[in-house]
Amino acid sequence: MANKDEVSRRQFLNYTLTGVGGFMAAGMLLPMVRFAIDPIMKQGAGQDMVAVVEEGKITEEPQRFTFKVNQKDGWYESEVTQAAWVFKDKNGDIVALSPICKHLGCTVDWGTDPSHPNQFYCPCHGGRYTKDGTNVKGTPPLAPLDVYKKEVKDGKLYLGQAEPQ
């Protein structure tokens, strides 16, 4: 007769088979799960800061710089060219504004309206913004220009996502 602590042949086979079966199932399923969720896990890394320009080139007058961003939209990946108006304000702090008009999404330009040389001007519907991006009352835009997340590292300006002020 089997002792109480002893494992019977039937039990032993049961345990081993479940164990081995479990390993095999996990071995098959895990790569599939990884494949399925991989782009979602990587998405955060795709939104990194991008080097745009050397700090020394930034003046008090806004200048337009373009940079490339890898845009990951779930499974779809593409390279998009973005632009920023970059300048130093009175305190010497760097400001990077998005050139996208908050009215209907045209691209604003600096100082192209002869009667308001020190403002951002939208050629579509005459929207204007002051140098710090604030929308001028009485023109179509209802919100200030978006501001890029920024960081200065090794003498270079890095820009991230544009965020509403």
Partner: protein
């Protein structure tokens, strides 16, 4: 705004601000001239997309009007003017036809609605230079378009 339902919804919200249709004119052939003809289509398409990006809030980018190289001028112009009058009746007073096909220089039906840009073969240039050429041409077209807009808004 682009030719898609999402942008059309945006248009319906703000139709009083949109008055300009951008329509590329693109020739088609599969004859011996195809390389040349593709070039004449590629460049205006790139420019039109860039103009849409810059003036998103006031222009609507249409699908191109395409025509066979062998098609007769009168036939094509008839289609173009049918579109022009439809646009004018439906609140788009400033259609802009963008082409690199020298065929349309001086076509009276098109008049100042035509923007004729000589084609530039971008394929062998490095990217920096490509972008410079495109942005230079876009600036030129923007001037033409915004001039039409003077004293509106």
């Amino acid at each position: 705004m682009k030719w898609c339902s999402k942008d059309l919804d945006m248009y319906l919200q703000a139709s009083e601000y949109v008055d300009t249709a951008i329509v590329p004119l693109i020739p088609i052939t599969w004859g011996s001239q195809k390389k040349n003809v593709i070039l004449k289509g590629e460049f205006p398409l790139i420019l039109s997309e860039e103009i849409e990006r810059q003036l998103k809030g006031r222009v609507f980018l249409f699908p191109a009007i395409t025509y066979l190289v062998s098609e007769r001028d009168e036939e094509i112009l008839k289609r173009i003017s049918a579109l022009t009058s439809e646009l004018e009746n439906e609140g788009m007073p400033y259609p802009v036809f963008i082409t690199s096909d020298a065929r349309w220089t001086g076509a009276e039906v098109l008049g100042d609605r035509l923007v004729n840009i000589p084609p530039v073969p971008l394929e062998h240039m490095d990217e920096e230079y490509q972008r410079e050429i495109v942005s230079e041409q876009v600036k030129h077209i923007l001037q033409i378009v915004t001039k039409k807009w003077q004293n509106t808004f």
